[in-house]
């Protein structure tokens, strides 16, 4: 099995779509949210929404780590990058996100800041070793998927006595965001009928953390891989659960996800990070216990403690509907800025920046036809 073609096979996809057609009850409507940007991307990349029965609608969730990071944190990263002697490293997508007045890390780089794209946090550690007289800061973002490598890098930096490496930590947690979305839907709005659960996140945390959510909200959750057939199969499982009145956590992504996840990764994360009591999410607001911070024993490698930056507070464009889009209350096309002036070339809101953001995926892949 090469894991590429099998999960994109057109004939198998048609079979699954046929089974979905047969499973849906015409009198019902099914509103499912895919939490992860990876799923949003797969849905649009393969033109799946148009292939689903008319009474199955997909709502795009907040699971894009780039999209949920508030502008103030982007501005803080830019301020860090502009400090003399600093090399700021981050993952590709993050560099394009506009902060206050549309300034992104890429623009800061054009203006002279030393900003580098890395493919892994270990590359940032290597840079710190290569440039002992520079301060290398890793702008760490992401859900539980990207947290273990950051934790390992911090352990490595401590073991090596690497004093010129630090991490600007913005790691966030999936279950609190799920809770926030579900509790934030006004009673007058139609609720969700099911969740397509995270793929890569679940390889680390497992499926167990979703069980209390499924029970509390009586909501079926199916953890699914990022390939198109994974998503279709998960939708079929959700439809069957809805029809049968069940609200269970099921695992479609059995080739990668175990019920208790990856205990070794969880242990490394616990050694290095602790729960942050409050963290601001773009679109969702301040959420309690929803992010991680670096433990005190790693303070010398915590960029927030090492560097003092003052940043003018940037304001989001009030016309930008990213907050409602991120909560699934609005479709990207409902936003006045969508398409003009907000496009992937000139993103105004975070959902337009990453290809996993609902607006960018909508803009990129939805044919006007």
């Amino acid at each position: 099995m090469n894991y590429l073609d099998e999960f994109r096979d057109g004939a198998l996809g048609q079979k699954l779509l046929h089974r979905i057609q047969q499973a849906v009850r015409p009198e019902k409507s099914y509103r499912f949210m895919e939490f992860c940007g990876g799923h949003t991307h797969a849905l649009f990349r393969y033109g799946i929404p148009d292939l689903l029965p008319a009474n199955v609608s997909m709502i795009h969730g907040p699971g894009c780590p780039v999209c949920v990071l508030p502008m103030a944190r982007v501005d803080q990263a830019i301020a860090l990058a502009r400090l003399p002697g600093v090399i700021l490293c981050s993952y590709g997508d993050m560099l394009r996100v506009p902060g206050a007045r549309g300034v992104s890390l890429l623009k800061a780089r054009a203006e002279g800041a030393d900003v580098r794209m890395v493919y892994a946090v270990s590359d940032a550690v290597a840079l710190a070793q290569q440039f002992p007289d520079r301060d290398v800061i890793f702008f760490a973002i992401g859900f539980e998927t990207t947290t273990p490598p950051t934790a390992l890098a911090l352990q490595q930096a401590r073991a090596l006595g690497l004093t010129n490496f630090s991490v600007f930590c913005n790691h966030v947690l999936t279950p609190p965001a799920m809770e926030a979305i579900l509790s934030g839907i006004p009673a007058a709005e139609p609720g969700l009928d099911g969740l397509v659960g995270p793929a890569h996140v679940s390889t680390v945390v497992g499926t167990a953390p979703y069980v209390p959510i499924a029970q509390r909200w009586h909501l079926p959750i199916v953890v699914a891989g990022f390939e198109p057939l994974d998503v279709l199969q998960a939708l079929l499982q959700l439809i069957i659960q809805v029809n049968e009145g069940r609200a269970e956590v099921e695992n479609q992504y059995t080739r990668a996800v175990r019920p208790n996840g990856n205990p070794k990764a969880q242990q490394v994360v616990n050694e290095v990070f602790e729960i942050r009591s409050q963290f601001e999410w773009r679109g969702l607001g301040g959420l309690a216990d929803s992010a991680l911070k670096i433990r005190d024993i790693f303070s010398p490698w915590d960029a927030e403690k090492r560097f003092k930056t003052t940043i003018p507070r940037g304001k989001e464009n009030p016309a930008c509907d990213c907050p409602d889009v991120l909560r699934g209350m609005k479709s990207p096309k409902d936003c006045k800025l969508f398409g003009a002036p907000c496009t992937p070339d000139h993103p105004m809101g975070a959902c337009m920046v990453s290809s996993e953001g609902a607006c960018a995926a909508h803009y990129r892949y939805r044919s006007e036809t």
Partner: protein, 340 residues
Amino acid sequence: MSLDWTHGKVEMAHGGGGRAMTQLIDALFLPAFDNAVLSARNDQAVLPAPCQKLVVATDSHVISPLFFPGGDIGSLAVHGSLNDLALAGARPRYLTAAFILEEGFPLADLKRIAASMARAAQEAGVSIVTGDTKVVERGKADGVFITTTCVGEMLDDQSRGVTQIRPGDQILLSGTLGDHGMAVMSLREGLQFDSDLMSDTQSLHGLIEAMIVAVPDIHCMRDPTRGGVAAVLNEIASQTQLGIRLEEKAIPVNPAVQGACDLFGLDPLFVANEGKLLAFCPPEQTAYLLATMRSHPQGEQAALIGEVSADYPGQVSMRTTLGGLRRVDWLSGDPLPRIC
């Protein structure tokens, strides 16, 4: 004193117009590119006039890393302007080459690049007839930049180009997508993974000549370099105000390229190619053109990947492997890997 080809470096004097520059040209470029016009050491080349219409194409080449599996900046610099020229339906005859060298650049690498250029030019049957060398201070360039200009003659009187594209035209692709871009990306700083990715850099004029002889009526040919097939097709759709519809399952992609793209969250449609072409062909001649391409070594994996229509003006869309329809938009900025 003779040049040290093992440990020697480019010095400012090598671009200074004095003895050192002459020495570099005499010892490196003249023997490598070896032809009578260049060896006359004039500041220009005097060439016999071609019988057909004259065609000129120019291209600057900057690439990091300079050497990559399947090629290097030298072969790329020859193929780049040569392909641009040939796509008009022209036969390349002569090349010029201008080098901007960074002080401190290893002479051994420069020799390797010159040899690679010479080989690429020889394989393509063109001569490098004049050139220029400048040296800039360390830090003001990235090793070596090469600008080449290709001069050639039209093979026939047919006019081809974007304005000739008509609704109903079918779109042929000469081979797999994304090989060059992913081979280069696999070597970039911080991105080391073992793979059999290999750049597709090659000159296409042999294939083009065979195609034109078989089907003189080809409406337009383009090479999907930077920005990939998506950029070229969007440019054409927006210029012609016609719609373009692709068929995903028909598009050939090497498994190694697809795998690398998946790893980094990139799409082969947006990745650069340096040895592939797209041809717009009247539908009644597609079968013959496709057969001609497939019988040529540079077009063995050619495929019919889509067609032009009057519907949905200005848009490029694709029927996915699952049967859904998606838009194929321009790339925004450089391709950046996704995080999740």
